[in-house]
């Protein structure tokens, strides 16, 4: 099993080692239904020189995670936790590769409405899809 941990804090963390002792109100683990793969988002400066030569310079790249937590793992308290996670100024994730946890990675989320859908329109089947982006570039 591989898991992803969502953790939030009111202050910035200086010790980024995964902490399994945090309470349910600070950190929760999810076996998301979507792949927990790290995606790379590249920003490039591209254009055409006066000579006609095209160029594309890599400016920076960021890691991203698209995760979907479905109704099998979401109860009312999980939805509240994710709302608090999204509200928090300092959001972190840690991924489990089957044997160990990664260090915490500070991420940001998208603005807008809480990304919650209800499968088949049933209020008992919430599903939350998060796009989390690493704060620091690679």
């Amino acid at each position: 099993m591989s898991y992803i941990a969502l953790m939030f804090s009111a202050t910035e963390l200086f010790e980024l080692t995964y902490n399994p002792a945090l309470t349910d109100s600070e950190q929760r683990l999810y076996d998301t239904i979507t792949p927990k793969a790290t995606l790379v988002n590249r920003t490039v400066d591209e254009g055409v020189l006066l000579s006609g030569r095209r160029y594309s310079h890599l400016i920076h790249k960021h890691f991203e995670w698209d995760i979907t937590i479905s109704a099998d793992e979401l109860n009312t308290s999980d939805v509240e936790f994710i709302e608090n996670f999204l509200d928090s100024p300092f959001k972190y994730i840690s991924t489990h590769n089957g044997t160990s946890w990664s260090n915490y990675i500070q991420v940001i989320s998208n603005s807008g409405r809480t990304p919650i859908d209800y499968i088949e329109g049933l209020e008992d089947l919430p599903e939350i899809t998060l796009n989390l982006r690493k704060v620091l570039s690679e």
């Binding site: 239904i33 792949p35 479905s70 109704a71 099998d72 499968i119 088949e120 049933l122 008992d124 089947l125």
Partner: protein, 156 residues
């Protein structure tokens, strides 16, 4: 945890034909019971699943579908339609009875081919009434569906 081994057949597989559908209006504390359900009455519980990233189907919940074929068909005089309309606008429990026994306010008619009892109880549902003609008579078909998150509180 202890082991669970379902090995023996004798005295483990019971006959529990569908017998009755009952409604309990929680505010009025009134029961409405319909016995002698006809063949074709059935229940079905299916799972709502979603595939995860490993290809396994994760169960999100269950859909309960109940169908009761009601023979009592003097609709102009037996008050059933009016009663079901009233039930539909209130909070009620639906009890789907299998086998014999476990009745509260009356003695059910005798039945055969049973050796145990069980019931399905659902709440927060609505009844759908349909009518059809079979051979020499009309009959009512009552249907109810309900989503449940787990199976822990449905079989009694």
């Amino acid at each position: 945890m202890s082991d669970l081994i379902l090995k023996n057949i004798q005295n483990s597989i019971y006959l529990m034909p569908i017998r009755a559908i009952q409604f309990y209006e929680t505010v009025l504390e009134d029961w409405t019971a319909i016995e002698h359900l006809e063949s074709g009455s059935n229940f079905r519980i299916t799972s709502i699943t979603k595939q995860n990233s490993k290809g396994a189907n994760v169960t999100l919940g269950y859909r309960v579908e109940l169908t009761a074929n009601v023979a009592h068909n003097d609709y102009a005089n037996n008050g059933l339609i009016e009663r079901l309309n009233r039930i539909n606008s209130a909070d009620f429990q639906l009890h789907f009875k299998m086998g014999y026994g476990d009745d509260i306010i009356y003695t059910p008619p005798k039945m055969i081919n049973y050796n145990n009892k069980q019931k399905i109880v659902i709440e927060n549902t609505k009844i759908v009434m349909e009518f059809e003609s079979v051979e020499l008579r009309p009959r009512m078909i009552l249907k109810a569906t309900q989503f449940i998150k787990n199976l822990e509180n449905i079989f009694y």
